[in-house]
Point group: C2
Chain length 289, copies 2
């Protein structure tokens, strides 16, 4: 099976390397020459356009910033595609946008899967990403071996858009989780209590979570390096809130958290990890100790 | 070592039974005869007043609803206490109130520990509670064998009040966690996606938490039986928000969650488990499917 890959950013490049490691033939295209170097050295074949990538492929992946880029890639894929090509978009975009693009492509003979990932750059490099997939079962089955070369846990959640819904739920839980852990650790500090001990005790009970464990430790270490940049989580929370608006849904905890990500980015911490949210609370409490 | 125990409610009774099982002599008092039956049958000795319990004890525990009751018990304990008695209150109250009562008692020769628990009635029965303790090390060491008969994880977090601070952090994380899981599962449902699959996928990644696992499953099973009653979590969130007000701290995610607990109790679901919060979101979304 011949693969194509569009979007050779921080996530896309290591994903292509893992596809190559698993022995897949991969065609790529990128606007910038520099994005190609690493993957071409690993045996990927550079093509002259997205349509040429599609023409050479049975299955095309993409990993780009947001819905407008996905729509653009999708049309270019359809321009070059043979009937029945599967296009799996791994970007995080709104469920409604994913469904709309999939319906457009279907009319042009291309089957689209939405397959957003979690696990960040580290997961992309290690090949341990979680993939949440929406779309037709047959297309999922076709893409599965390639998905498994990029991720550890690959699940078809449901029909078109269901992968993006699961990803939105993931961003609600991790975003609200980071806010709650930052609030709790700042509460402990302002009460004169050692946050490290509080984290340790709470990890033994119902309050235990990967966010308290992983992000909590990074807050205590004052390690605000990404990981997952705050502006990216801000973008994901925007998607969640837009979808909530469209559906007429109240999300009070996620809504408060989306506002905190706005403040985080507004305070110049967009390029830091989400755990920098602790600093936002410290600033509001008169500065760190 | 002779123990006393005040507050023979849903939590207190099984705690006394576990102290008896571990072979401790326990004096008890209760306003209502019915509260005594079970523990007296297990060998606890009923006394005529709290002061009489204190007079017969080296170490007195209490587990009552809120700070006014703790203050009342504390004074009665001091009335009967010998010099150096340790009084360990296991109720959940404000850190500031715990510190104030401890300071009052110290002036009367009684050493107080704050030792709130998490794990609920099931944990009290199984002896698997988590105990978060604040106060002097020597008093903690004295109480430790008895604490270990009631709980599995017993940690001295810091000085007076530190146990209550840790418990407040616990209630922030579990309360916000329940709200976020309810928001995510309702978001999935309103998007036409199976919440059970979403929970399963997310448990494999960074969004994993005991709340998503345990409370999420109970929401999907529509099992709203306590567990931990919504009005009790509402009370604990009130303590958190009062302490935040006193300290001049912003807790946006916890604040939104406290409002949701108000609405939950206001909608007549106070006697149900916190997971009934899912129903609140369903009501706001036009009812359950």
């Amino acid at each position: 099976m011949n693969l194509g890959f569009i979007g050779l950013g921080l996530m896309g490049r290591p994903m292509v390397l893992n596809l190559r490691k698993a022995g897949f033939a991969v065609s790529v295209w990128a606007r910038r020459e520099a994005s190609l170097t690493l993957v071409v050295a690993a045996g990927a074949v550079a093509r002259g356009s997205i349509a040429e990538v599609a023409a050479a492929s049975d299955l095309v992946f993409s990993c780009v910033p947001d819905a407008p880029q996905v729509a653009e890639v999708a049309q270019a894929v359809a321009d070059g595609a043979r009937e029945g090509l599967v296009y799996a978009d791994m970007s995080t975009i709104a469920p409604a946008a994913a469904r709309e693009i999939a319906a457009d492509l279907k009319a042009r003979g291309v089957i689209m899967l939405d397959a957003p990932v979690s696990g960040g750059e580290a997961g992309a490099i290690a090949g341990t990403l979680t993939l949440m997939v929406g779309g037709e079962q047959a297309a999922f089955d076709k893409a599965l071996p390639a998905f498994q070369a990029m991720g550890q846990r690959v699940t078809r959640v449901g029909d078109s858009g269901a992968g993006q819904v699961a990803k939105a739920c993931n961003q609600i839980l991790t975003g609200v989780g980071v806010a709650a852990v930052a609030e709790a650790l700042n509460f402990a500090r302002m009460s004169g209590v050692d946050g490290a001990r509080v984290r340790e005790v709470l990890l033994g009970g119902l309050a235990a979570s990967r966010v308290l464990d992983n992000h909590g430790q990074r807050m205590l270490d004052r390690n605000f390096k990404p990981g997952f940049k705050a502006w990216m989580h801000q973008k994901d929370m925007r998607i969640v809130m837009e979808e909530a608006h469209r559906l007429g849904l109240a999300l009070p905890a996620a809504g408060a958290t989306a506002q905190l990500f706005n403040a985080l980015v507004g305070n110049g911490m967009g390029e830091e990890d989400s755990v920098a949210m602790l600093q936002l609370f410290e600033t509001m409490s008169g500065g760190a100790a």
